[in-house]
């Protein structure tokens, strides 16, 4: 059994996108170590509601690390101190008794704060809508083995497809760049024969949309890769660059 800990929580509170935000402190007492970070926030919210205060707004959904809804910038790290894990997969046993834990929303011009710790990540949907798909002609379902795909390409495409679109890469980037996300979404299709047909149009459209939405440019700092909960590699960014330059040169 993990032992219980008590700690101070510094949480960013902001009533709306245009309102001025500030940190509020909450003292948490006797929290069991096997409480998840989000469950700990649930406990706090229950207390706040019982005290007739506004609960803290934060994004969450599946709570098993696959939906990409949870965010939270905890003690200087997107998704908290663990590597290869989302916020919902963090447990309080990672923290020490008497700690001060600072919780902030993703901060980037591309992700404006909606309220408290919840940010607007619809920019990612817009980038996907710009070309992150394969156009299909309806008809009979083709046989799965009709198109041979090398194992290496399938593996790499799968690694890129592990991206859950949570936005931790943008949150970690000192340039507020979405290159890791865009490169993963370009790569997961560009590596497969079905995606190659529209590869040039896709990479140009998605990158143009990324730039248009005000995300920054990549400086190869690699903070995104280090903080990505799905360990998506920056080799995808190299592929994105290669494909984009190639597509522009062949125009």
């Amino acid at each position: 059994m993990d032992k219980n800990i008590s700690f101070t929580l510094r949480v960013w509170r902001q009533r709306g996108p245009k309102e001025k935000g500030e940190f509020k402190q909450y003292y948490m007492e006797d929290i069991p170590g096997d409480t998840s970070f989000l469950e700990m926030l649930d406990i706090l919210n229950e207390k706040l509601i019982n005290r007739n205060e506004e609960p803290i707004v934060f994004d969450h959904d599946c709570r098993e690390g696959i939906c990409g809804m949870c965010s939270l910038y905890i003690n200087g790290h997107p998704h908290g101190p663990a590597t290869g894990a989302t916020t919902c997969q963090i447990y309080m046993r990672r923290f020490q008794d008497g700690d001060t834990i600072t919780v902030e929303p993703w901060r980037s011009a591309g992700f404006p704060v909606i309220r408290d710790l919840m940010v607007d990540r619809r920019a990612f949907d817009k980038i996907m809508a710009a070309g992150g798909y394969v156009s299909v002609n309806t008809g009979g379902v083709p046989d799965a083995n009709a198109i041979p795909i090398p194992k290496k390409a399938a593996d790499e495409a799968m690694d890129a497809a592990a991206c859950i679109g949570c936005g931790a890469c943008v949150a970690a980037c000192k340039n507020g760049s979405a290159m890791l996300f865009v490169s993963a979404k370009v790569s997961q299709l560009a590596l497969l024969p079905q995606g190659k047909v529209e590869a040039k149009r896709r990479v140009k459209a998605m990158l143009a949309k990324m730039d248009e939405l005000g995300f920054g440019a990549c400086t190869n700092t690699r903070a995104c890769e280090a903080e990505c909960p799905k360990c998506v590699s920056i080799s995808n960014i190299a592929r994105l660059n290669r494909q984009f330059i190639g597509a522009k040169l062949s125009d």
Binding site: R10, G21, F23, Y73, N75, G76, H77, T83, T102, E104, R107, S108, A109, G110, V113, A172, K174, N175, G176, S177, M179, L207, A208, M210, D211, G214, F215, G216, A217, C218, T219, N220, T221, R222, A223, E225, A226, E227, S233, I234, S235, I237, A238, R239, L240, N241, R242, Q243, F244, I245, G246, K248
Partner: protein
């Protein structure tokens, strides 16, 4: 035009101009090292370049590369700052695998530009510029001896070269990554190639600097017998 209005296009301009400047530095370092072995040889190189048309064309080309690299750096840095938003994090941590240089490329670049200004004042203004004005250019070897006999110039040059080392170790693999010639395997290879080449490059510059400083200050003869070219 995508080299002006797309993020990857702008980065491509940075990487191509950056790589071209690294190539120039390699030539520059090779020519400097001649001064270790033969003062006569170094004087010949100075005369061969001088203010001849090809040296003028080269200088203008270099100035253009510098200006483009600097203007794009400024432009990208400002737009990246804007993309970061107005509200900054209260707590930040440097994640594992993130180099110091990669976070400070602009500041390192500024130090490099300041060092370059001093360098142009020390050498170029007394050689090519004088020749362009119709005068007799200063002797290359004498200028090296004079400049590096002063400890403060040596110190400033060492700081300059240190900043350049940091700037280039990140800049090299970063440029290749931006062009897209990288993957998980080549990323490690490029990084090693970059570290080794840039370290040799900077050591070449430092070697000339330190050798001449030791010769002028302490009259260390073992260096001159080793190289045979100091101060003839």
């Amino acid at each position: 035009m995508w080299l002006f209005n797309s993020s990857v296009g702008k980065k491509l301009v940075m990487s191509i101009t950056g790589l071209a400047l690294i190539l120039f530095l390699t030539f520059h370092m090779s020519m400097n090292c001649v001064a270790l072995f033969s003062a006569e040889g170094y004087r010949f190189i100075c005369e061969f370049l001088g203010a001849n048309w090809y040296a003028i064309v080269g200088t203008i080309g270099l100035a253009l590369l510098m200006v483009i690299h600097f203007v794009y750096a400024l432009w990208l840095t400002l737009t990246n700052q804007k993309a970061r938003g107005n509200q900054r994090y209260a707590v930040t941590a440097r994640p594992k695998g993130v180099e110091f240089a990669s976070r400070n490329m602009f500041v390192l670049g500024l130090i490099v530009v300041l060092g370059l200004t001093l360098h142009l004042f020390n050498f170029w203004a007394k050689m090519q510029l004088v020749e362009l004005g119709g005068g007799v250019p200063g002797d290359g070897v004498d200028l090296i001896r004079f400049t590096f006999s002063k400890w403060y110039f040596v110190l400033l040059y060492l700081v300059w070269l240190g900043a350049l080392w940091f700037h280039l170790t990140h800049g090299f693999w970063s440029a290749i990554q931006t062009i897209g010639w990288s993957n998980t395997k080549w990323f490690v290879r490029w990084k090693w190639i970059g570290y080794i080449c840039v370290t040799l490059l900077i050591l070449g510059f430092v070697g000339v600097l330190v050798s001449y400083f030791c010769y002028e200050t302490f009259h260390w003869t073992f260096l001159s017998s080793l190289f045979g070219g100091l101060a003839q």
